[in-house]
Amino acid sequence: MYSDKVMDHFEHPRNVGEIENASGVGTVGNAKCGDIMRIYLDIDDATHMIRDCKFKTFGCGAAVATSSMATEMVKGKTIEEAMQVTNKAVMEALDGLPPVKVHCSLLAEEAIHAALWDYAEKHDIKIQGLEKPKSDISEHDEDEEY
């Protein structure tokens, strides 16, 4: 069902945990599957560099793996660069996800966006392309329905 990359990130998730006094925290959930993801960011206020990134996830294997991969991908990047880390990019980095699991990667993208929004609000800045996070993430059903 899952690629080896997904399984690897599920079995050995990177960046699990919390960051105390994080610069930004974002929590999003998907009402359909009931899963919840929380991302912590430690951001250098001067350079806008993401120094550290951690996550906690209540969710499926794909949710854990995408959290892990997404945190890896934004770490060391600037906020502007991190905005380019889309769910598609995360999925590609994981060698793909099954169709029913696409929303899990959206969850990761949105959790990062929510943490960035939190940071932006606290510092009263505007981040190009960032929208107010939705509390509920869900994409269109990719299944054919009969």
Partner: protein
């Protein structure tokens, strides 16, 4: 290959080697079409008759009340759709429950689209259907009551006798989906007033792709699958002879060891439940504490999600399930766990372990040890868990 501890016997079971052995000659040696007149097909006809006899004996039924099908799902579809069609002139109301297998639920929903009215009875926190609620739901135009014998997720055994009595009293047909119970629990269709009963061989160490529907003599049920004159003109299609032979053998073997097996399974299951409930915090046992299938344990672990749990168990070589296998295409939490009143996020963290005839005490202890470790690990990753 790494050792696998298979604790998903409610999803499907290993075919017993004796069953395969019994089937083999019917692929390459006695391969005739049972409908043919020549002597070459006689062993096929005899073998089918034997299976029918064995099943009839197991239920206190007669041979011409047993109709072979492709499995439990087809039997459920047939029972509901054909009964609805046959008795439509009497009424269009059907009563079933919220915790049926999708084979019944989705067929019920289909019938609703055709203009039937379906009442889905609620259950209590243990998953038991209320006989009082059933009595209140009965109407003059009720034509069918369909209540499963035992639930596939939480293992609760339903009050079939009482339900059968209500049905009989009101002259309403009574169908039971006994896919999880047949060959695991003793069943007598007359004592329990059952008019139709579905079963599937792969749930009791028989082959996949074969099952049966018991139809009480005299019922005016028509075909669901139309065509040739097989199964006394009620179920068309060349018969799956090897499958039917395997079904018969599996019934024979299961019946012979049923009591002994139940005793063993109950012991192992109770040990499993005891250890999990005492050694892991924030856990709930789903299903009736005593009135349950002897091989079923179903837990909800707070703060963690089922799929992750399953994958980690899988990595440890343990096969379990969360919700039922056939619905794993879906992301929704189990309708059964919601029906017994669990909130969404707790329903999500559920695990079903179902034992089989090969399960040992070591398997159980290893499983609990792994479970403790995994639950702890997942909770440490969960945003919902604060210790």
């Amino acid at each position: 290959m790494k050792k696998v501890i298979y604790l998903d016997n409610a999803a499907t079971t290993r075919v017993r080697p004796e069953v395969v052995e019994a089937m083999l000659p019917y692929f390459t040696e006695h391969y005739g079409n049972p409908s043919s007149v020549y002597d070459f097909s006689t062993p096929c006809k005899k073998a089918m008759a034997h299976t029918r006899e064995v099943i009839a004996g197991s239920l206190g039924a007669s041979e011409n009340e047993i109709y072979f099908t492709n499995g439990g799902t087809e039997a459920d579809n047939w029972a509901l759709k054909a009964a609805a069609e046959a008795y439509a002139s009497k009424g269009k109301h059907i009563i079933t429950t919220q915790i049926e297998h999708h084979a019944v639920l989705h067929t019920g929903q289909y019938l609703e689209k055709l203009g039937y009215e379906v009442t889905y009875l609620p259950v209590d926190e243990n998953g038991v259907v209320s006989v009082d609620a059933l009595k209140k739901a009965v109407r003059p135009d009720t034509i069918l009551i369909s209540v499963m014998f035992a639930n596939n997720e939480i293992g609760t055994i339903e009050p079939i006798r009482e339900i059968g009595e209500v049905a009989k009293e009101h002259g309403i047909l009574f169908h039971t989906d006994a896919v999880q119970a047949y060959c695991h629990e003793p069943i007598n269709v007359d004592e329990l007033h059952i008019d139709m009963l579905s079963a599937s061989a792969h749930k009791f160490n028989g082959p996949k792709g074969v099952g049966f529907l018991y139809i009480r003599k005299g019922l005016k049920l028509r075909s669901f699958i139309h065509g040739g004159a097989q199964e006394r003109k009620r179920r068309a299609g060349t018969e799956n002879v090897p499958g039917i032979v395997g079904l018969g053998k599996a019934v024979e073997l299961s019946l012979a060891s049923m009591e002994e097996n139940k005793k063993k399974e109950t012991e192992l299951r109770d040990h499993l439940i005891h250890r999990v409930m005492t050694e892991i915090p924030y856990v709930r046992l789903n299903g009736h504490p005593s009135q349950r299938l002897s091989n079923n344990a179903n837990f909800s672990f707070q703060f963690i999600e089922g799929e992750s749990l399953l994958i980690m168990l899988d990595m440890a070589g343990i096969c379990g399930s969360s919700g039922s296998a056939c619905t794993s295409g879906s992301l929704d939490p189990s309708h059964v766990l919601l029906a017994i009143g669990l909130p969404h996020e707790i329903a999500h963290g559920s695990l079903r372990l179902t034992l089989g005839e090969e399960t040992t005490m070591e398997d159980i202890d290893y499983t609990v040890d792994q479970l403790k470790r995994i639950v702890e690990r997942l909770r440490s990753m969960s945003p919902l868990y604060e210790d």
